[in-house]
């Protein structure tokens, strides 16, 4: 059989393959370029960028849990000006797709960043992280309220020149309502899941393992939750879904695509093995060959009862 067509199209943007690296686990690509050739990746998602530098939380920010990790980094970032001046020039020369993740404490902060990125060359897609704690909503993530999600999506679209992916928090009762709100607001795609809120207690010291008490759970332990949510979201909307949550192997990636993902994103696995994204790309191709599939995009939503 001839080679597999590995290309996928997300919101009109063609990626050479469906494998993306997740925001917050890949910097802006530079650090992992010491390990792998970034031009082989479908896309790199740069770490979340705010309108001004964010300090993040105090240490300790990391705790290991069985099959995963908790983090409370607190979205430390240098702000959009430094990103544009220092990080983007490197990333746009890397030869992979470029997704820029946007964070904010309240809606206006998102719009300022999106507006600043408007028309900037070398950014293929924006990813709007609506899992950040919203200051005006008493720290509740704005991504938990469908009406707010729809409004923020609509406004981001108004300011953005690039297609917008809304990145969903899993810390909701019904992910379908949030996915539908994104689509209603004009989102070009959605990505999920962000990390699941968790907690670890150090029983010897009888205190919290993380400075922030709670943190985001990620890694292979969240994968079944993520697959279920990708499935539910993909059945609800007609825009593309980017699936993520604990992907460690090509088999995991296939599972997300069968559940309805058009592309997949690698997060914590980068920390454990920087070569995982390349192994997933190669493994996806091998899977397609083994199953007589001509184009990897045929996997999307192909699960049947």
């Amino acid at each position: 059989m001839t080679d597999v067509n590995m290309q996928v199209v997300i919101a009109g943007v063609t990626l050479k393959n469906p494998v993306i690296t997740s925001s917050g686990t890949y910097g802006a690509g530079r650090e992992y370029s010491e390990f792998i050739d970034l031009s082989r990746l479908g896309a790199v998602t740069a770490k979340g960028i705010a309108d001004v530098p964010w300090e993040g939380n105090p240490a300790p920010r990391i705790a290991e849990v069985s099959g995963g990790m908790l983090n409370c980094i607190g979205l430390q970032n240098p702000g959009v000006d430094v990103f544009l001046e220092r990080d983007l020039p490197f990333l746009r020369e890397a030869g992979c797709g470029v997704i820029v993740n946007v964070v904010g404490h309240e809606p206006d902060e998102y719009y300022r960043v999106v507006d600043r990125l408007n028309g900037v060359q070398g950014i293929d897609l924006l990813e709007i992280n609506i899992s950040c704690p919203n200051v005006k909503a008493g720290g509740l993530a704005l991504g938990t309220d469908p009406a707010v999600v729809e409004e923020v999506t609509r406004n981001c679209k108004r300011y953005a020149s690039q297609p917008c992916i809304m990145k969903l928090t899993p810390n909701v009762t019904d992910i379908r309502a949030i996915a539908a709100a994104c689509e209603a607001g004009g989102a070009d795609a959605i990505s999920l899941i962000n990390s699941i809120t968790g907690m670890k207690i150090d029983i010897e010291r009888q205190t919290f393992a993380l400075s922030n008490r709670t943190g985001g759970l990620s890694g292979p332990c969240v994968k079944p939750v993520a697959v279920r949510m990708v499935y539910e979201a993909a059945r609800t909307v007609s825009i593309p879904v980017i699936g993520m949550g604990g992907i460690m192997t090509a088999d995991d990636a296939v599972e997300f695509m069968l559940a309805g993902a058009s592309a997949v994103s690698i997060g914590m696995a980068n920390f454990i093995d920087p070569y995982v994204p390349l192994k997933v790309i190669d493994g996806l191709r091998d899977y397609c060959i083994r199953h007589g599939i001509a184009s990897v995009s045929e996997l999307t939503g192909a699960v049947h009862a």
Binding site: E34, P53, E55, R61, M69, V82, P220
Partner: protein, 262 residues
């Protein structure tokens, strides 16, 4: 060039209660510098994050590195079971080490506390290699008279010892040993618990001596992307333009005045 690989265990010995010395065959021994560290990965699929361990010694000709670590939990306990011929995943060399260039021709004081002692051996050896006549003093603080690495340190430096329980050397902290030693350093390198580093920084400031300290923090990526292992800095950091530097890549060795240890 950083890389992740599967390394062969050359040998492992228990050198004190809960302290192990592990020699690994790696491809990057030639590049590894004093004060740098490696990430060690467990074979247990539920404990996924790497354990950062400082490099204690390198044998560049044989392509080997020596790691001396303390059992701190189930992950490191797993490492302690490794025997010659076993395999372990390792990433390295990581981080910025000690500025050995600055030590040449100077009276250098190396201060190590507890499991902060191993990187001081790599520093002492690196200085000696470049300058065989270097005047290197090691002040090392132990809990008790187990004195791991004492003989290795004695071979390359003058050593003063403190123990918490007074069972050997100066009864007290490593700073008590430093004061006892009459050291008149022109440069200080240090690694140990935060309370010790605070005292070292203060001592260096009083003496007006340049000082570099090696920091420790829980890590995830080990290569500077996750921002999990930050330390508070006195000035705006280069990466995020806040006051938080990455221990894994901006450090672990920092000029003492750049780290806020309060």
């Amino acid at each position: 060039m950083k890389r992740k690989e599967t390394a062969a265990v050359v040998s492992q010995d228990r050198i004190a209660d809960g302290i192990f010395s592990l020699w690994l065959q790696v491809s990057f021994a030639k590049e590894a510098e004093a004060g740098q560290f490696v990430s060690l990965f467990t074979a247990d699929g539920t404990r996924l994050l790497p354990r950062p361990v400082s490099i204690c010694e390198t044998d560049k000709d044989a392509g080997r590195i020596r790691l001396v670590y303390r059992i701190a939990g189930a992950g490191t306990e797993g490492f302690s079971k490794l025997k010659a011929g076993d395999r372990i995943d390792v990433m390295g060399p990581l981080g910025r080490g000690f500025p050995i260039d600055l030590a040449l021709g100077k009276r250098v004081l190396l201060i190590g506390g507890g499991i902060g002692i191993p990187p001081m051996l790599s520093a002492a050896k690196a200085i000696r290699l470049r300058d065989p006549d270097a005047a290197v003093t090691c002040a090392v603080g132990y809990r008790t008279n187990d004195r791991y690495l004492y003989n290795d340190l004695s071979a390359v430096s003058d050593v003063v010892v403190s123990t918490d329980d007074g069972s050997y050397g100066v009864h007290g902290t490593v700073m008590d040993a430093v004061r006892f030693s009459d050291a008149d350093p022109q440069l200080i390198f240090a690694c140990g618990p935060k309370v010790m580093l605070r005292a070292v920084k203060e001592y260096a400031k009083t003496k007006g001596v340049p000082c570099f300290i090696s920091m420790e923090e829980r890590m995830a990526c080990g290569v500077g992307v996750c921002l999990g292992c930050i330390c508070q800095t006195t000035g705006i950091d280069e990466h995020s333009h806040v006051k938080k530097a990455r221990v894994c890549t901006d450090g672990p060795v920092f000029p003492a005045e750049e780290v806020d240890l309060t």
